[in-house]
């Protein structure tokens, strides 16, 4: 069984506070980076830290009631909580809704993190191509491509988020990618 789901099952059955905290720490060491990525990709960076703490608190509080049995169900549940919390956040602070991160900012971040291991010419070429695909897309398409390819949400997650059908999302992403390719070439 997946390590994450084992920890969550154990957490649900644990009564003592110290043991619960220990398990929660283990669980969040595994899931925090992905939740951080999701939040930091959805809200402007100066607001993201507060929003992330709200999401973490909601997930930690709700974990005892999570009823699913697989890691996939757990992730879908986490992202649903994160989306709801971010929607609450948007309502109270509309100005913090994410604007597409400027390409220069993404590059700076990637370059800075690659100082110890320089990016090869081939990888650099791929990254530049990916950036062009994203930045040449129309805003709506950018959002679909970003959520699917960069955040890693599957068609089903996006369908739920957008109240669309699975096939509708699949076709939309395909069209957006084709359009971006034609604009880049």
């Amino acid at each position: 069984m997946d390590e994450l789901i084992k920890l969550i099952r154990t957490y649900r059955l644990t009564a003592g506070l110290a043991e619960r905290i220990r398990l929660a720490e283990e669980i969040f060491r595994l899931i925090e980076p992905d939740l951080r990525f999701f939040v930091f990709s959805s809200v402007t960076h100066h607001a993201a830290q507060d929003a992330l703490q709200e999401v973490l608190k909601a997930v930690a509080t709700g974990m005892k009631k999570f009823e699913g049995g697989t890691a996939k169900e757990f992730w879908a549940w986490c992202y649903r909580i994160a989306r709801n919390k971010l929607n609450d956040y948007y309502r109270s602070k509309a100005a913090d809704r994410m604007q597409p991160t400027p390409p220069e900012e993404m590059w700076q971040l990637i370059e800075a993190s690659a100082q110890d291991a320089p990016i090869s010419a081939a990888v650099r070429h791929d990254l530049e191509y990916a950036m062009k695909l994203l930045t040449s897309s129309k805003p709506e398409c950018y959002d679909f491509l970003w959520r699917h390819f960069i955040i890693g949400l599957d068609y089903g997650d996006i369908a739920e988020e957008r109240d669309m059908s699975y096939d509708g999302v699949r076709m939309k992403i395909g069209r957006c990618l084709d359009e971006a390719k034609s604009l880049v070439s």
Partner: protein, 73 residues
């Protein structure tokens, strides 16, 4: 046969991996996040203990919870 990922999808995947790594590196110590989690778990635990100490008064059930015992022969 499964469709092979195309050049553009591989490039986007590479970008995702690099961007995630960069963000993770920028925020290496999630101590603030762990503090939030510990506080949330502690708060929930205290609420549970409080609920155990003062259980809500429920109206009497119209039917007895246990079957009446059979009379001794």
């Amino acid at each position: 046969m499964a469709e092979l990922p195309q050049k553009d999808q591989l490039a986007l995947h590479e970008f995702s991996v690099r961007y995630r790594a960069a963000l993770a590196k920028q925020h290496q110590t999630p101590e603030q996040s762990l503090d939030t989690v510990r506080d949330a778990v502690r708060e929930q635990y205290e609420q549970e203990q409080e609920a155990k100490r003062s259980p809500s008064v429920e109206p009497p059930s119209p039917t007895p919870e246990r079957e009446p015992e059979e009379p001794e022969p």
